[in-house]
């Protein structure tokens, strides 16, 4: 990136080649191909053009590695006017803003020109707060899909058939769980005469089946990785979960399971495919796991259970994906846009419900995911072997189109549930009382903050991962190593890291109504 920006400075910005002003603007979309089958793309373009009186020029690019291609073009001084799509990271947006090649849009947002966006900001202050870049401007337009059940990333599943066979109750606490796991291991519940049961397993590579889910039992919710960085928020204070006492207790719990053979021996080494194969085995092997869907070969054997409490007294805090707030960066306007005002007036129409549904789930047509009957939408029969959640990517213009789908629209007459969606909703209702109300909202970082964080977190995160595996598998002793580990993280800049996160969180909070 630094190289690209240097090149940017060297080449100067001569802007994209747009000849003359016809009152319109050009739009770049990272669409796999304008000649996709079935004419759905053409249909999308016609619908989008019909939302404005000014002419739109369409430009395409591949959505494969789109961000790096587009960044290279930008560095060579070639900008789109309007860009729609979900390929940029927040750090890219900060970088573009710092280089002043995208323009702030907040001055164009008002009740007269952009009534929908204006209303959206009023009704959903969280997405407005999330959209404000560290320099105080808004550069992006968001997409909101408030299908709350889909943001429940982890659901705890247990093999009910095994439970019944062994005459056990559904566990309520971690101690109960251990008893159940032990019985699963020793009493051959799948009845094939082999001790091939895997009482509990998780998948480090998955965005939903990761081991920290269990931290919920101690009243904390967190997630690993680039976006969530094992952070947890308590009363407005951002904390790094891997140095908290609850983390230690969780590790100790896993360690004991591992020592007794109740945790999958391959838990730390298996790939996602191997994990899925275990779930797909024709004779059930897994006792307990957590996933975002009950995608098993014998899914009818499994039921979702409520979060467990560490000791029966602590109320579990279950994590919900912050995506329900909205995704902030689905459209940006570059500085050489001839008519930013027209572009925003046009984009405002995206937030009308009919456009939102088609932007997000597929152009209404017979060969698409859904059709329109009168004023309402109905789901179509899909080609064999397809599921809506992936087929829709070929039926929308591009994934990452601005939209606003409020919670109450899902399952309404206008936009009915899909098969299976209702069940997930029921599970969501079951988890609702436990959902953590302070979720790490993945706020914006300034460019220098993001750079510093990536320096700091590389080492700290790898220490956390290494120690986690070593302690759980018993390669190192947790009790004697814990204080040293905390000191090491401090020495590696843990406090500085946390203060950057806290600063970003405070900026986000400042934009929220009191």
């Amino acid at each position: 990136m630094a190289v690209l920006m240097l090149a940017l400075a060297l080449t100067g910005c001569n802007g994209g080649g747009n000849a003359g002003d016809d009152g319109g603007f050009s739009v770049l979309i990272p669409a796999e191909s304008p000649d996709k089958p079935d004419g759905l793309y053409q249909k999308s373009l016609e619908r989008l053009q019909s939302l404005t009186d000014v002419p739109i020029t369409w430009e395409y690019m591949s959505d494969v590695d789109g961000a790096s291609v587009l960044k290279m073009q930008i560095a060579s001084g070639e900008f789109p006017e309007v860009y729609i799509g979900g390929i940029f990271q927040p750090s890219d947006i900060s970088q573009f803003a710092a280089n002043e090649i995208i323009i702030p849009i907040e001055d164009y947002i008002n009740e007269k020109d952009t009534p929908n966006i204006y209303k959206l900001y009023q009704e959903r202050p969280a997405i407005k707060a999330a959209s404000v870049a560290p320099d105080g401007h808004i550069y992006t337009l968001p997409g909101l899909k408030e299908d709350m059940a889909s943001y429940l990333e982890n659901i705890m599943y247990i093999n009910k058939v095994w439970l019944d066979k062994l005459g056990l109750d559904i566990p309520k606490t971690l101690d109960d769980l251990k008893v159940v796991l032990k019985a699963f291991k020793e009493q051959d519940p799948n009845g094939n005469g082999q001790a091939d049961e895997i009482p509990l397993t998780f998948n480090l590579a998955s965005s939903s089946d990761y081991p920290e889910v269990l931290l919920s039992s101690w009243g904390l919710s967190t997630k690993y990785g680039t976006w969530d960085s094992w952070l947890t928020v308590q009363d407005g204070e951002v904390k790094f979960a891997p140095v908290l006492d609850e983390w230690k207790e969780m590790i100790a719990y896993y360690r004991d399971l591992y020592a007794e053979g109740l945790l999958d021996m391959e838990a730390f080494t298996q790939t996602g495919e191997q994990y899925n194969a275990k779930k797909g085995a024709s004779v059930s092997k897994i006792g307990v796991h957590w996933s975002n869907a009950n995608a098993m070969a014998n899914s009818d054997e499994y039921i979702a259970i409520e979060p467990l409490s560490a000791d029966g007294k602590i109320k579990p805090a279950w994590r919900i994906h912050p995506g329900y707030i909205g995704t902030k960066d689905f459209m940006v306007i570059f500085k050489n846009c001839r008519n930013p005002k027209e572009a925003l007036k046009w984009a405002d129409k995206f937030y009308e419900i009919d456009n939102s549904i088609q932007n997000a789930f597929g152009e209404a047509a017979e060969n698409s995911t859904l059709s329109k009957v009168g004023d309402n939408f109905v789901w179509n029969e899909l080609p064999e072997g397809e599921v809506v959640s992936s087929y829709m990517y070929s039926c929308v213009l591009t994934s990452g189109m601005p939209c606003f789908l409020p919670e109450e629209v899902y399952g309404s007459e206008k936009f009915p549930f899909l098969p299976g969606q209702e069940e997930k909703k029921a599970v969501y209702e079951m988890y609702k009382p436990y959902l953590d109300d302070e979720v790490w909202p993945r706020p914006y970082y300034a460019v220098e903050e993001a750079n510093r964080l990536s320096e700091l977190t590389t080492d700290i995160f790898s220490l956390v991962e290494t120690k986690r595996a070593k302690w759980i598998t018993g390669a190192e002793d947790l009790e004697s190593g814990w204080e040293q580990y905390k000191a090491d993280i401090k020495r590696m800049g843990g406090d500085e890291m946390l203060s950057i996160y806290q600063g970003a969180y405070d900026r986000y909070q400042a934009g929220m109504p009191k």
Binding site: Y60, V64, E273, A277, G280, S299, E386, K424
Partner: protein, 303 residues
């Protein structure tokens, strides 16, 4: 005396035999090690993905089906990508072979004026490249972006391969042959076409292979310089396909069985992709193989 000789002879042939057996065993093991991954992918591509991931297809395919291939061929872009790749590879290799061999021949002649300087100039380009953004700007200003030329022109001369070829000419085509040609009244062109090329079949075959492989596997220049997906080579199409396969299929409360099936199908497609992507390379090797063995050792000047 004679007795000792016989014993010696038996001893020798015994150790020869041992050497042969050891040699053969090691080479066989080595060959198997190289072949196994290919065999595994092939067998995985026709097996039920569940067995593959449970590690049950270690030796033989299990649950044989062609689902992966069927699914893969349903994508209309595959065939187009294949055709594009063939076009880019054939035209690219023709241009590369022409530039490479002629350039190497010229530089192999000691009487070429400024030969050292030219050599240095070519080698320099191996160390210093323009970088991505300047290249992009150059191609844009040349108006070759989004055309076939942006794929085949920037790599029209592979300096490394040219040097390999030049060294071959210098060490294998002896000066006497050139003198003989001259005495017969032949020019440089006659010498090049009638003498040098026929004597260099081995290196030419190897170079065709190198160039073709590089073109066939080329992905980045298509990624950065082609915008129209109808012009994408196979690798780019396959990359797009794998990317779309790994996109989250589970994000809305969907029918669980359907998702499990979908994940399975995609794993099968992934193995099929590897096989489809490498078929042309597999096909090419046997034809080039004979030149590896032949040619190099056959000298033209005796004594």
């Amino acid at each position: 005396m004679a007795k000792t000789k016989t014993i010696n002879k038996i001893k020798d042939s015994g150790s020869d035999r041992v050497f042969g057996i050891v040699n053969g065993t090691i080479l066989t093991i080595f060959t198997l090690l190289v072949l196994y991954p290919i065999y595994f992918i092939l067998s995985a591509s026709i097996s039920d993905p569940t067995y593959v991931n449970l590690g049950e297809t270690f030796l033989f395919p299990k649950g044989i089906n062609f689902l992966g291939y069927e699914k893969l061929l349903e994508y209309p872009t595959i065939l187009r990508g294949f055709a594009n790749s063939v076009l880019y590879t054939v035209s690219g290799v023709c241009i590369q072979m022409f530039t490479c061999v002629t350039c190497a021949f010229a530089l192999s002649r000691k009487e070429l004026p400024g030969r050292r300087w030219l050599n240095g100039f070519f080698v320099l380009t191996m160390y210093i490249g323009g970088g991505l953004v300047p290249s992009y700007i150059l191609y844009r200003d040349l108006h070759i972006l989004n055309t076939i030329w942006v794929i085949i022109l920037p790599t029209a001369l592979s300096v490394y391969n040219m040097i390999v070829c030049r060294s071959f000419f210098m060490s294998n085509i002896s000066e006497e042959l050139f003198e003989a040609t001259k005495i017969d009244g032949g020019s440089y062109t006659t010498f090049f076409i009638k003498v040098v090329l026929p004597l260099s079949k081995a290196i030419l075959a190897v170079l065709v292979l190198y160039h073709a492989l590089a073109h066939w596997n080329n992905y980045t220049s298509a990624l950065y310089y082609l915008r129209d997906s109808r012009k994408y080579p196979l690798q780019m199409v396959l990359k797009g396909l794998t990317a779309s396969l790994s996109s989250d299929v589970q994000d809305m409360g969907m029918d669980a069985k359907a998702i499990a099936d979908k994940i399975k199908a995609e794993q099968a497609v992934r193995y099929a992709i590897i096989i489809i992507g490498s078929i042309p390379v597999f096909l090419m090797y046997p034809f080039v193989q004979k030149y590896f063995v032949k040619g190099v050792m056959v000298g033209s000047v005796k004594g």
